[in-house]
Amino acid sequence: MSNKENNRDNTQYLTIKEEKAIARENKKIMTQFEREKNRKNVDESEYTTQMRNPSNVIEFDNLHTYFYTDVGVNKAVNGVSFVVPEGKIVGIVGESGCGKSVTSLSAMQLVQGPVGQIVDGSIRYTTSEGKCYDIAKMPRDEMRRIRGKEISMIFQEPMTSLNPVFKIGEQLDEALEIYNENLSASEIKARSIEMLELVGIADPENIYSNYPHELSGGMRQRVMIAMALICEPRLIIADEPTTALDVTIQAQILDLLLEVKDSIKGSIMLITHDLGVIANMADYVVVMYAGKIVEAGEINDIFKNPKHPYTVGLMRSLPSLSNIENQEKLFSIPGQVPNAVNLPDYCYFCNRCDYSFDACYESYPEDILFEDGHRAACFLYADRFKDLDLNRPQLPKNIASSSDDQFARKIPQGRVDFESINNPKEKL
């Protein structure tokens, strides 16, 4: 109980003296990391490795990305391992601040330095030339050959990620110019316009010479997608691609993403906090909480048979469109995400968890493997506690069995036959 009390109040104050000491210490560490990254003429063997499984596009292995802030070390990504198989969509879900964006930025080497640093672990990636690199150890200059061309990113806010002072066309051309030096200006323009057409922009020639502010939110996001796809990357990282958009536009963009993924034969890492989007798009799901993966597995395992109490809580806290009939009180996970600067050495979720027991306050749970690569980090399923009489989370029926027709909503299209609703003859 005392643990619970202590954790609820996460904000702690530091004196200026303490802060200065931390800053001094951080500076030492950061300069060392920066020096490492800025080295010239590094031998390639230093950052070439082998993939565990050649059918994967990218493998994250025990990745640690820390931010050395003046109030302490923020462990934004704290030991994350997962893979993205070729041609698949991997969804990463979690609350804001759980490290899902930092994971993807690490894969692009775009973590804001010198404060943010990849401290430990590796990110293995095979280029289209067949060389396998460890992105975590790659020098900055070498990374430019991969970033944008092999791995590209669609950012969250189309409003802020496009440069307002350049025309759409110029911004699209830039990426091509850098990676294809032998193309002529007219060829580049033709390719850019073709790309705009591919992402479903009507009248691409006009849009090519427009400025970003002249476009609507959906159009800007399409331009962002065109920009990400223009070099035909093998891996697209989509960081909340639809969060700023309306549902109707979101549906358009998600369909577009599925289409282009097939046309360039790429894989997608889809980062979102919307479980509905994940359910419709992803093949594999990774659930993150406070910088660690709490559960990962195939889409059906996660949605039909979630194990970790956090995943179950997330599912239950959704006001679902498909269960209009049983209006019970919405489930909510109490409390808040712990402060990433002062993480406890036991399970990060236990003080919000309804099922926690003594062991949860002693050490961080190891990954427990279930069938077919489904894993969860929770003591409830550990072998050594198998015999304990613990109450394990139960999914409400409507989620566990929503494939039944009774819960699936059928939305009529076009004219509703209101006469038959008023006089339901057939039922009698």
Partner: protein, 337 residues
């Protein structure tokens, strides 16, 4: 605890219009028709949800109702009082009874005021409680909203998004209002926090009998919290009625498209999405006739000529829709040139 005795409408909006001038002064004045002829009513103790895409005028409806914007045309009644005609002094007396919770908890709290002061300021201004009871009152309100009183000396930046939204709710609730407009109160929050805030709003409603206008673009949240729903498109209401009826038989093609676009968190769910083509048209020159016709796959000639009228087609349901797919009244057909 919903009051059953009062059948009359607590809040009523009739033909509300709000135009914003656009373009330079001196040139021919054009107007952004942000809200164009919207009517609805809310019964005491119930919640009405207002849904629609961004830019359809949902927020403007809410703000115009409170006269945060001057009303261009139309009438707003609140508990039998016509809001349009109130003098500034009378309006100020009404203000505590009508409160608003804003969308973004990050920008709607003054960063230079401690939380206790934020919540207590308006209470003091409107003399809700005697001066000496103010601290106790603020403490009660904070507890009711799930904020420990020891936080009252802290500043907004020390709180997380969910807690800030609780502060916004506490600020609105502290004035003992009857009617609260919630303008996208959960869209900036995470799923697990979103559920906490929705539950808080519902508990407060059960305890104090508030009437809510719940503005959101998230249909699943609106479905959960509302009793009646209005669907807006480009400044106009296209469908309005009882929640169950709207979600069971959405009649307007726009409502159908909106509902089908919501991703269902279930991998087995068969998607039969109606994907709308294109973007929402400019509200400066909205399409003639039915405003939705430019994106509607069922549009015919009549849609561009005649503005469809609101009609109720379902017996026993409060459910009105304005669409030419359904027979229109023959009384008068206004032809729009």
């Amino acid at each position: 605890m919903k009051k059953e005795n009062s059948n009359e409408n607590f809040v009523e909006v009739r033909h509300l219009k709000k135009y914003f001038p656009a373009g330079l002064k001196g040139t021919t004045r054009q107007y952004v028709k942000a809200v164009d002829d919207v009517s609805f009513s809310i019964k005491k103790g119930t919640t009405m949800g207002l849904v629609g895409e961004s830019g359809c005028g949902k927020t403007t409806v809410g703000r115009t109702m409170l006269r945060l914007y001057p009303i261009t045309a139309g009438e707003v009644f609140f508990d039998g009082v016509k809001i349009n005609d109130l003098s500034r002094r009378d309006l100020r007396k009404m203000r505590p009874r009508m409160q608003m919770i804003f969308q973004d908890p990050y920008s709607s709290l003054s960063p230079r005021m401690p939380v206790g002061e934020i919540i207590g300021e308006a209470v003091r201004e409107h003399n809700i409680v005697p001066k000496e009871d103010l601290d106790n009152y603020v403490s009660d309100i904070m507890n009711a909203c799930g904020l420990p009183y020891r936080y009252s000396r802290r500043y907004p930046h020390e709180f997380s998004g969910g807690q800030r939204q609780r502060i916004c709710i506490a600020r609105a609730v502290a004035l003992k209002p009857d009617f609260i407009i919630c303008d996208e109160p959960v869209s900036a929050l995470d799923v697990s926090i979103q559920a906490q805030i929705i539950n808080l709003l519902q508990n407060l409603q059960e305890e104090f009998g508030y009437t809510y206008l719940f503005i959101s673009h998230d249909l699943s949240v609106v479905e959960y919290i509302s009793d009646t729903i209005g669907v807006m498109y480009l400044g106009s209401m296209v469908e309005y009625g009882d929640k169950k009826s709207i979600f069971k038989h959405p009649m307007h093609p726009y409502t159908q498209a909106l509902l089908s676009a919501v991703p269902i968190p279930d991998p087995d769910h068969k998607m039969n999405r109606v994907i709308l083509e294109g973007d929402i048209p400019s509200p400066i020159n909205p399409p003639s006739g039915c405003k939705f016709r430019t994106r509607c796959e069922y549009a015919s000639d009549i849609c561009s000529k005649i503005k469809p009228e609101f009609n109720n087609y379902l017996d026993g349901h409060e459910h009105e829709v304005a669409c030419h797919l359904y027979p229109q009244d023959h009384q008068e057909q206004r032809v729009i040139s």
